[in-house]
Structure formats: structure tokens, C-alpha cells
Symmetry: C3
Subunit: 329 residues, 3 copies
């Protein structure tokens, strides 16, 4: 019983088919039944049709693979300052360090080797995987999931440069991660120079993402892997960043915007924008221009041929004298 | 005795010269002898010619700098669950945590501060540098080298979005790293939603690389720094990714393909492809188009001049009436 | 008393206004006074004019937020080899591991969970935040600030490939970080194959940056987040890399050059260059070409229309026979 990939499933498994690329694999699968979206046809198959197959998948996986109930308790090898306030059923792993005046909500889980700086606060049911670092005064909401190697609250990259020498501007702000946020492995969110760097409620961040000092990300955004957001930019609710995209500093990105993979946003975006490219332009424009890009050499030679033909005509008509002097390279 | 760079070598050292950029440095070097490829000439120099100078370099460095024999033994400050099975001569550093039912092969070395999740398995002679995290049920083959800060098995970035809210899809698969793999500092490989994320035997991964859930990378690939591979993509054997390249999800990349630096592969690649650009196109096309790109402003003005000349001709011939209405901006 | 953002400041706070985008916020702010650059006007406001407002900001923040005096002392849960030499007032956090023959200068602070490899050296007043890893023989200068998760001295990515198999080239060099360097969270600097990878004095590196083996970065450079520098490249003093930029290997970048965000430098740069694009070209060229890029589809249709008009003229003049055979697609 349970779920398995199309390749690995046997008659006792349910599998999933949503992406047309996998039709062949779905037809060849030994799965006992296949979860599909509305109206999907599949030969000789028992189908489990769901209006939103990924929501159904999430529910089924939660059913078949419930989160392990954690052991609870503070490990003897964790170092927790006496001034901390711990909620009920808090779990702290071995070799974790929890600084002075930290507040941990109920059922918070702090993984092995985490370091939680002084005066940080973590909300109920939040899980810190192993080796997360919170600089002092970091705030993380409830029901968050912070993956291994994440660093929250590192110094913002701020320097006053005079005569080639970079003087550090102390970064005295902090990082606030709201409720229901997930942050992927080895990502980094820097604290603000003044005030707060904010990750909005329900936002999901992938691995190796960088959020700079003073950025404010709205609720329900998605930041795919290796995305970077430069300092002081404000991102509205529900914005999606595809992988390896970037945004420069001091911008405003309107809600529900989409930034395509590898793109660089260099100016403000109106709500609902869909942009691509370096610098990012409307996605439709980018797509048409890119399609032509590969034909660029061909356009170059067409241009040359036309110049030739034009010259021929001009010569025949004795018109060359009309063209501006120096007009040809 | 030993090897040194061209600048630092003295008469007692062997140095290396393979890249034409360093001819001047090679000629000025005080090295006692210089290791070169077939047919290389260098004035007034003792040359050590090798058919494959980098293979010779590897052999010589192994000879002059043998890997230090490790001390062996489980450090008193490591926490190893009683249910683990350890091979012979296993070494585990201070403050490492090894979970329940973990199996470590012979001569495995687990660095200080590593966290190895329950039911993970590590093959013979594999080295985990300090502060590596393996999520539960991760499998690492024999003779691998996993660098500091690497995270294997983190949650894949999978959410079912309804009405702007992102519901987590539990990621119940795992990561399998085959034999002879090297993974660079602070890289992250996420576990599959279902089934496995696989890094093929002999593949070498540089620092800060991200491999997403369900990706399957074949044998003998090279992934240079900051590369990212999106979910479910399959990469054939012997594929090379230059630095900061990216691949989108659900693609198939044929074996021995090469992806140029900073490129983004957005569609399947036939075996032996060599691509560049965003989106990636055949490298030759990209190179010709890029060469023209910088001349783009010039092409624009050539176009404008031609339109002028054409208009002049048309006016002289009274031909304007033949051009389509609205044909001019 | 103290400093606050324009939005958060009350009458008891000083705030800052330098970027024109925030004029409205500055005018609406409740701040008691506003720090500005020379000649800035702001309605109904007490202004504190400074010739270099960011230098003044740095000074004021240092005054209002002095670095906390550290507790000092080696934590009972740190493991420090007997052969180490510690300066005066050294602080070492819990679960840090300091290897054999390490030398720490006066007032060095080693954060919780750091791992310092054998024979490394750290200069006076340098701070290692939690969970930094130094591979053996790494050298870090005085007054450096190395952020959480940084890995210095990992193996360079060097392999000798024969018949599809990648043989490791031992990396026997080391990393040298000079004085007054800052390195951001989760960045990685690899050690050289032979000789040294060098980060020059006063250089500031942001989060998630990758510096490959054998790179030499001059003094006073700035590397913004997610930048990558490939092997053996030499970067002159005072070079600026904007976010997500990259440089290929074996290049020389002249001093005071600027590389725009997302750009890829594929050839040497003269001193004082300002480049952008993939591959990077002079910034002015890139800007003009990019401006035209979005108009590319329009240029394509202008070209088509001209070809039509030219054909019309040629037909009228019976000139078609003069055009080269096969000249039309």
C-alpha cells in the first residue's frame, strides 16, 4: 500500500500522472491505480480523478507518511541558557546552542548543531533542521520549516566607500520570518541595516536563495533555488521567482508578478507582471525577441544582401548622389 | 622536492605548464623542471613530457602529498546511536551525530559536527568533511568525498497551490549518491517526492550547486560551481555543466552534452549537444548571434539608412502607391 | 534616541535619506531629524547634512550600537588541541573544534560549532561566526569577519579526465585571506591546487559567493551575493562584482573594473573597465544593444517590409536578374 513513481509502482501502489511527458511511462506502469486531473484518459488503467491532483497527492502522502512524532525533550548535550523560555514539548537536539533570553513556542523542534542567537524568538510548531544558525534577535513565526544550513540574520552587505576603502556600516536591524514559511537548505537571509528584513507569511523559499538586508517579501511568494533579491526591494504578495532569477535593490515588485528563470529584474514591476530576460522585459516580448536571436546571423546576411540590391538599383537610376555622404561603412 | 607553481618553484621543484597564457611565467620560472604535454617547447628548460600532463600531475601530487592516514576511532564527543552498524576503522569526529540504524562501511570518515539522519547508509572509504548533513534514509556510495556544509536529502520544493496558498507536498523519497562521487562545499541535493534523486557513479559536483528533487544525474558528469538542475530532469552520462548554468524541470539531457557557463537549458538535448545561451541554443549559433549582438546598434542604423534610401528611390519612381497601406511607422 | 528607518522613526530618532525613491517617505517620516548628503532639500525637516552620509551613518551606528564586548574565554564544551597557541582574550564557543598547531591571535572569537583545521592561523581581532569551517592550513588575517556557514579551503574542482573517467588532482595548496576581509554567509573559497587562493586585504564578499582554486583577488574588491570566480583568475584591486555575476578561469581583470549584475566575463579586462552581458561587453554597448533587443521583433518586420518594397522596385525596373542566384530564401 502507498504511493510510488510510475516506474517503481506495483499493483499495490497508487501513482501519479499529470505531465504529458510521462504518458508513455504511465501506460507502461504496473501501478494498481493512477491519480490524475479532470478529464485525463489513460488506456487500461484504474484512474483516481481529483479536481486538483497535487492537493490530493499532498493529502495522500500525509496519510501514508505521517510526520514522525518527535521524541521530545532537551538533549543532555544541548546548551540552553537559563534565561530562555521554552514552551511545552520543545525538542532540542544534541550540540545545539540556545542563547540568552531566547523564547521557543510549544512543540518547537531545534535540530542537532543549531545555534540560536540571544533574544531570538521562534513560534509554535516550527521545525529547525540540523545546523541552522539564527543571529541574535531573529524572529521566526509559527509552523515554519527551516532547512539544514540556513543562516538567518547575517550582516547585510553595507559599506561606505571612501578612497577605495570600504568602511563597514553596522547592521543593527533584524530578520523577521512570519508564519508558515519554509526556507530551503543553505539559504541566507541578511538582517536589515535599520528595521527589518521580512519574509511574509506562507512564503516558500528553495535552496541556496539569498535575500539581502532590508528586503520585504510579501505573503505567499515562491522563490525557487538560487534566486537572489538585493537590498531594500519590496516584493508584493504571491510573487513567483523561477530558478536563478535576480532582482536589484530598492525596487517594488507588484503582487502576483512572475519572474522567469535566470532573469534579472532591474526596474519596478506592475502587479501581475510576467517578465523574463536580462534586464527583464514582458515575457511575450522576450519570447519573440529570443526566437529571433538565434536567427540573428541570418538577419545580418539578409541586411547585407538588401544593401547590395539597393546599391544596384541606385546605380541604375543614378540615384547614389542622393544618399547621405559617409552613409556606407 | 615536490611540486610548486611556476612563480613559487625553485630549482628543487617540478612545476607545470599547459596553458599558453602562462608561457612567459614558465620561461621566467626558477623551477628545476617543468611538466608539459606532448610537443611543448620551452627555452632553456628541463621538460618532463607526459602524454596527459594532468594525469601525471595527479599521480605526482599523490606521491608527494599522500592523504594523511586518519587517526581512526569514534571521538568521545560524538553521539552514535546504539543501533548503528559501523565497519572497520571507522572514524567519527567530535560533535558528530549519527542517528538510529545508520550503516557505515569500512574506513568511513565522518567529520566534526556532521549530522547523519536515521537509516542512512555510507559505503566504504567515503569521507564526510565537517558539518555535512544527511537527512534520514540518505544513501552514499563508496569512495565518495562530501565537502563541508553539504546538505543531502533536504525536502524537495513541492507545493500544491490553491487560491494563493501553498500546501506542502510531503517529500517521502530519498537521495542516492553512487560510488566515487565528489560534492563541493555548501551544495544541496534534495530528496525526491517519491522514489529517488540520484547522483551517478563518478560524477563530480563543485561548490554551491543545487540538485532538485527527483533529478537523475548519470555517471561521470561534471557540474561546475553554482549550477542548478530543476526537478525530475534526467541527465545522461558524461554531461558537463559549466559554472552558473541551469536546467529547467522534466527534461532529458542526452549523454556527453555540454552546457556553457551561465546558460539555461529549457528543452531536451540530443546526445552530444553543445549549447549556450538563455534559452540555450547550439553553441555555434549562440556564438555567431552574440558576436552580432554587440553590433546591434550599428545594424539598427544601417536599417534606418536603407529605409531612407528605399524611400528616395520609390519617390523617384512614383512607386510609393505600391507599398502596403500602413506599412510605415 | 538612536537611528531608525524613515517609516519607523519617531521624534526621538534620526533617520537617513539619500535615495530619491524615498523622498515621499522622508517627507512623511516622523523622524526628529534626517541625515542627508550635501545640498539635499526636504520640506519642514531638520536636516543633518554630511559630506558622505554613509560614512556618517557608519559612525553614528557604531556610537549608538557598540559591538557587544564578548564574554571571552574558551567554553568548556569546545575542543582545542593542546598544541594550539592562543593569544590574549581569545573566545571559543561551545562545540567548536580547533585542530593541532592552530595559532589564534589576540581577541580572536571563534563561534559555536566552528571547525578549524590543523595548522590554520587566524590574526588578531578576527571574528568567526558560528559554524565556519576552515580546512587545514588556512590562513585568515586580522580584523576579518567570517559569517556563519562559510567554508574556506575546500578542495579545488580539479580532475584529469581520461576516457570519461575523472581522476582527482590532489589540491595541496591553501587559502589565504588577508586583513580586514568580510565574507558573507555560506560562501565558499576553495584552496589552490598548488600555491594559494588569495582574498586581498579589505575585500568584502557577500553571501553565497564562490571563489575557485588558485584565484587571486586584489585589495579592496566588492563581490556581491552569488558571484562566482572560476579557477586561477586574477582580479586587480578595487574591482566590483554586482550580484550573480561570474568570471571564467585563467583571466586577468584590471583594477577598478566593474562587472554588472548577472554578467559573465569571458576575457581579460583592462583597468577601469565597466562591462555587462553574457559574454560581458562594454556597458554602454550592452545598454544600447539591450534597448534594441526588445524592439527586435519590430526590426524583423521592418526588414521583411523592406525586402518586399525592394522586390517591387526591382520588378518594375526589370532588375531582378541582377540579384545573385539563390539570394532569396
Amino acid at each position: 500500500m502507498g504511493l510510488a513513481t510510475l516506474e517503481e509502482a506495483g499493483p499495490e501502489h497508487l501513482s501519479l500522472f499529470t505531465h504529458p511527458r510521462y504518458r508513455e511511462a504511465a501506460e507502461a506502469s504496473r501501478a494498481g491505480a493512477v491519480l490524475v486531473g479532470p478529464g485525463t484518459e489513460l488506456r487500461d488503467r484504474d484512474l483516481l480523478e481529483a479536481p486538483q491532483p497535487y492537493v490530493a497527492l499532498a493529502e495522500l502522502l500525509e496519510y501514508f507518511h505521517p510526520e514522525p512524532r518527535r521524541s521530545g525533550g532537551v538533549h543532555a548535550d544541548a546548551r540552553v541558557a537559563d534565561s530562555c523560555r521554552l514552551g511545552r514539548e520543545v525538542e532540542i537536539g544534541p550540540f545545539a546552542v540556545v542563547g540568552e533570553d531566547v523564547v521557543l513556542g510549544d512543540r518547537v523542534s531545534v535540530g542537532a548543531g543549531c545555534v540560536i542567537g540571544d533574544a531570538s524568538r521562534i513560534g509554535d510548531d516550527t521545525v529547525l533542521m540540523p545546523r541552522v544558525v539564527l543571529y541574535p534577535r531573529t524572529e521566526v513565526g509559527a509552523r515554519c520549516r527551516i532547512h539544514a544550513g540556513v543562516v538567518l540574520g547575517g550582516d547585510g552587505f553595507g559599506f561606505a566607500t571612501t578612497l577605495g576603502s570600504h568602511r563597514k556600516i553596522p547592521q543593527v536591524g533584524r530578520v523577521v520570518v512570519e508564519d508558515d514559511v519554509e526556507i530551503g537548505a543553505n539559504s541566507a537571509v541578511d538582517r536589515a541595516t535599520l528595521g527589518e528584513t521580512v519574509i511574509g507569511a506562507g512564503t516558500k523559499i528553495d535552496d541556496l536563495v539569498m535575500v539581502a538586508h532590508g528586503v520585504r517579501i510579501g505573503a505567499g511568494c515562491l522563490l525557487a533555488a538560487q534566486t537572489g533579491i538585493a537590498g531594500s526591494t519590496r516584493v508584493g504578495a504571491g510573487v513567483t521567482f523561477a530558478g536563478q532569477s535576480g532582482v536589484s535593490g530598492h525596487l517594488e515588485l507588484g503582487e502576483r508578478s512572475i519572474v522567469a528563470a535566470k532573469s534579472a529584474v532591474l526596474q519596478d514591476l506592475a502587479p501581475g507582471s510576467f517578465v523574463a530576460g536580462i534586464p527583464a522585459v514582458p515575457h511575450g516580448t522576450w519570447k519573440r525577441a529570443q526566437a529571433l536571436f538565434a536567427r540573428f546571423p541570418e538577419l545580418g546576411s539578409r541586411l547585407r544582401r538588401m544593401e547590395k540590391r539597393l546599391e544596384t538599383l541606385e546605380n541604375r537610376l543614378g540615384a547614389a548622389a542622393d544618399s547621405p555622404p559617409g552613409g556606407e561603412e
